[in-house]
Symmetry: C2
Subunit: 381 residues, 2 copies
């Protein structure tokens, strides 16, 4: 097995782009990554493209748009974990020696999809969903339980959104660039009590891309290669049918495997992008990723550990809450943010001296089967 | 790189199943493959699930239904090539040593999808499609040109459908099991002149699955392993924007790579499943797969070379025309048919002494970019 490095990343600005076709967004991000890597489109030997709502063979349209044809190309779907899955597949194709240079793209255009405004519609066969227990309702139930178990207030949960929106202000790719107060967050439109609008990630259009090569060839392209120290993808039961609905066993198993693979631990992580689809999730994931014990998650936040300037700044990009959540693109966009951080190119939101970075996404659907996918990547310079 | 063997395959009957949820079809095929391989669901270390219209994380639902959780699982989309892409990815994960046993599933439920009856609707941004040049219209145009170039009659093209429907009568998994006459085919409802209904593959619900292990471990499970001698996946321009719209360069390049990888040639192939989405396509693919030269394709058919009992029986399953075309499942269903042929388990439609088998699928979309994917697998016993 060969070590694998990322030599280029690219992203669109995240937002709502009703005038852009999905493949145009994908091509913009792919072009940016190709330029960042200093390669020609024709150098690429294979591609993965993660997408959910863009229709058939979108990756072929994305890469056809920039003149790339005649290569192995696979479209990936894994809900919110799609982009990270694309990165993992590209990682293995390089690590195993199948190819020497390839691209992972994630793209989503919610605005132009038939699912615009319907993302919490229950899936076919989801009987409990049809009875009202849709995705947000389940997260709301889990949040209530969490608040009760650890004596957490609504104000404390809203602080996650305050932090991530503050970070988003410093990210030119972020969908929202506006600071929010606890009052604004808690007084925003109720979505499913106690979750209000500004504790939810928005619907987002956008794309991101990353170029991968074997580490021992990376010097040809860049003086700042970023190594993939761990790549783990697991599927399994989602958060809601365990005895304890406030803890995602899936994330914790995945993170443990990733730490083992990297030979690193949570104490080594200098910067982290994690799946803050709802504000409460960020607190849960602190625990599951090993940053603190259960019951200590609010303290971690209030002590500023996960703030910029703290020991483990979390969601410096703004996270899904502020940067936005272009479903299948999110996993690749996290990787782009962390590559910029490890290269020292993150501008105002730079984590000084960051050497080890962790990306975490979790996705799934409430189909009555409640299954999903989770991925953790650890990057280092 | 390790040699890889298929130790179990399974399929649903193909047809229209409005009462079955997509994941139920997938689980039926996966269960059949698991039983055929003589393994337990818990033995599986990874999975790929190809699907187009079933929604998010369908593979997790398919495998969750049979109690498989906590493994790496990736959902694949590559239009009609999706199932073959899943087989290829599973092949590489075994060949490269990442895992020792895994499953590739393809599943499609057109009937229950929002696309029921709309498969030839132009994609967003497909301006020529919106002006009337949809998928069938392009195939009709290509067919007209082909007929003109090589002096082929409508009756000769209809013979492909006659042959494949005759084969379908012998396949218990086939959607249609009824012999058709040339007159019935040519007098069926016009879809896009000169293509009539019975020269088109039907809309099909169904699923198929295959279990893969390293060849050197296959003896643990079966006395009849089938080896994957070649697996090639390419993307690129689809059939219509070349100088010659009657020849798919994409298929021919892919087949040549597969023959090279297997160390075999078209003359070695004893049985073949190829992409007969429209009757005319089968004749074209004879040429692109190297079975004959251009202009000889009708003679190949009329001489009975591609009939059961001929030198290279083609689409013994009934092909997409008769067995049906459950989009993302078709590539895996072809593999299942060929495994049965190589094991001598194909009943009435058995090709005596078959040792080398070839599977070919091509898929794509007319998005104005006209790009697609093609896969060729060569299997041997």
């Amino acid at each position: 097995m060969r070590d694998v490095a990322i030599i280029g990343v690219g992203s669109t600005v995240m937002g709502k782009f009703p005038e852009s076709l999905p493949y145009e967004l994908g091509a913009e991000a792919a072009r940016a990554a190709i330029q960042d890597a200093g390669i020609s489109p024709g150098d690429l030997q294979f591609a993965y493209c993660a997408n959910l709502y863009g229709g058939m063979v979108i990756g072929q349209a994305v890469l056809g748009e920039i003149g790339i044809t005649d290569i192995e190309l696979t479209n990936i779907e894994n809900a919110c974990t799609g982009g990270a899955t694309a990165v993992r597949k590209a990682w293995w194709d390089i690590a195993s020696g199948l190819y020497d240079i390839g691209i992972a793209v994630g793209v989503e255009s919610i605005t132009t999809s038939p699912m615009a405004g319907k993302l919490i519609t229950p899936a076919k066969g989801d009987i409990t969903g049809e009875l009202g227990m849709n995705m947000v309702a389940r997260f709301a139930l889990s949040q209530r339980r969490y608040m009760d178990m650890f004596n957490i207030s609504l104000e404390q949960i809203a602080q996650v959104s305050v932090k991530n929106h503050r970070n988003g202000c410093m990210n030119p790719y972020s969908q929202y660039r506006k600071e929010l107060t606890i009052e604004e967050i808690l007084n925003s439109r109720p979505i499913c009590e106690p979750i209000t609008l500004l504790q939810c990630c928005p619907s987002t259009d956008g794309a991101a891309a990353a170029i991968l090569v074997p580490l021992d060839l990376a010097g040809k392209y860049t003086s700042q290669p970023v190594t993939i120290a761990a790549s783990v993808l697991k599927s399994g039961d989602y958060a809601f049918r365990w005895e304890d609905m406030t803890f995602s066993d899936m994330t914790s198993k995945c993170a443990n495997s990733a730490y083992e693979m990297a030979g690193l631990g949570p104490e080594d992580v200098n910067v982290c992008e994690l799946h803050d689809a709802f504000a409460m999730n960020e607190l849960q994931h602190y625990v599951e990723l090993g940053f603190c014990k259960r019951g200590e998650e609010v303290r971690l936040l209030e002590d500023g550990v996960t703030e910029l300037g703290g020991k483990i700044p979390v969601n410096t990009s703004g996270g899904l809450l502020s940067k936005g959540h272009p479903v299948s693109a999110s996993g690749v966009a996290q990787i782009a943010e962390l590559v910029w951080q490890l290269r020292g190119q993150a501008g105002e939101r730079q984590v000084a001296g960051a050497k080890v970075a962790l990306a975490h996404v979790i996705g799934g659907e409430v189909t009555g089967l409640e299954s999903g996918a989770v991925a953790v990547h650890i990057l280092k310079r």
